[in-house]
């Protein structure tokens, strides 16, 4: 699946196929199979490896939850899963420890230029992050707007204001790009680590400038 979403970004279009159609097909597939945001996730995974190797933090992506239905044992040593299904995650994808603190976040991207639609995020994930924030963790969403090529660190408590409005049926089904920009902190893109989001965490949560 990584290859698939990677392919999306560097796609070569054969003659006669219109770019807009290809893109919209691919976007549909992404939504159906629940593999949004894999490109930014790869960058964050690389960044986390860098943090791990430099003893800066221990932050891992959780494995994708899968329900195993059937397993074959072609040899005594190797179990081969022959039927399984993806499950909806009940927590956010990333957590770990930084400067002695519990850290928890979700990585999301959108190709929408003007807003972040809530359909991109599971309710369970939001509620999990709300609880982690209540317990004193450092909790946020790393959010990329593809069209603007901008990545933001969005503290969960600010995100929750919009989310709760939405859940109370009165609010919008999305957050405006302008609001995200106002309420979050842009993470500059570098060579290595690609997105040094812990530097942003230092500034916001540890008051370092």
């Amino acid at each position: 699946m990584n290859e698939y979403t990677q392919g999306m970004i560097n796609l070569k279009y054969p003659a006669g196929i219109q770019k807009s159609n290809v893109t919209s097909n691919h976007r549909k597939k992404k939504v159906q199979y629940g593999h949004r945001g894999m490109t930014l996730e790869k960058d964050i995974d690389t960044t986390n490896k860098y943090y791990l190797n430099t003893n800066r933090a221990i932050i891992h992506k959780k494995p994708t939850p899968i329900t195993v239905v059937n397993v074959d044992y072609p040899s005594r040593k190797k179990a081969k899963i022959t039927e399984a299904y993806y499950k909806t995650p009940s927590t956010s994808d990333y957590n770990g420890i930084y400067r002695g603190r519990y850290i928890d976040f979700e990585v999301k991207e959108t190709r929408n230029p003007t807003r972040f639609p809530f359909i991109n995020i599971h309710e369970h994930q939001v509620e999990h992050m709300r609880e982690c924030h209540k317990q004193g963790g450092i909790v946020f969403i790393i959010m990329r707007f593809h069209v603007h090529d901008e990545v933001f660190l969005y503290p969960i408590e600010r995100f929750l204001v919009h989310w709760d409005n939405f859940k109370n049926k009165d609010g919008r089904k999305s957050i405006r790009y302008d609001d995200v920009k106002k309420e979050s902190y842009q993470i500059p893109e570098k060579y290595n680590p690609r997105f040094d989001y812990l530097k942003t965490v230092d500034e916001i949560y540890f008051g370092e400038r």
Copy 2:
């Protein structure tokens, strides 16, 4: 697999089959397929749900890491995984936040009456726990000795003394039951939550008696 290991405990033996043989077969299978410790894990999962529902802590078991090789799409909505394999985990199975602190642990059980063999634990998991401890997390192993029907909370820094001796080739390939008993804290078994290990954490890490 949960059913399988559950079955182990309440096994009915058909006439003519000796209990000892059945048990030893089952034990071999357990080792091969890497699903050790599932019974205690179930109790800890239930305990964690109790903690979650009572807002005491947010602690989850990570999904089992699986490498997906092939996926079919029998309908547009449902992805069916048709070939996949279990991966060796690179972190411990449980982590989360408690009283504002990062908490990280592994759950292990052995049927050996006199020692805990290191073969029960992956090197990656131990090294992960060592690093989390260095970063200031609360890190331990919850260890059950089946024969004695005892469950212990074993702080990782004490476990590491034995592990490092073992890795330096001079030491034993296991920790003696007597040493575990001396160096760890027994978690009493109750009705609900089954193993209130956070009470033990309160005593050890927060100095409450």
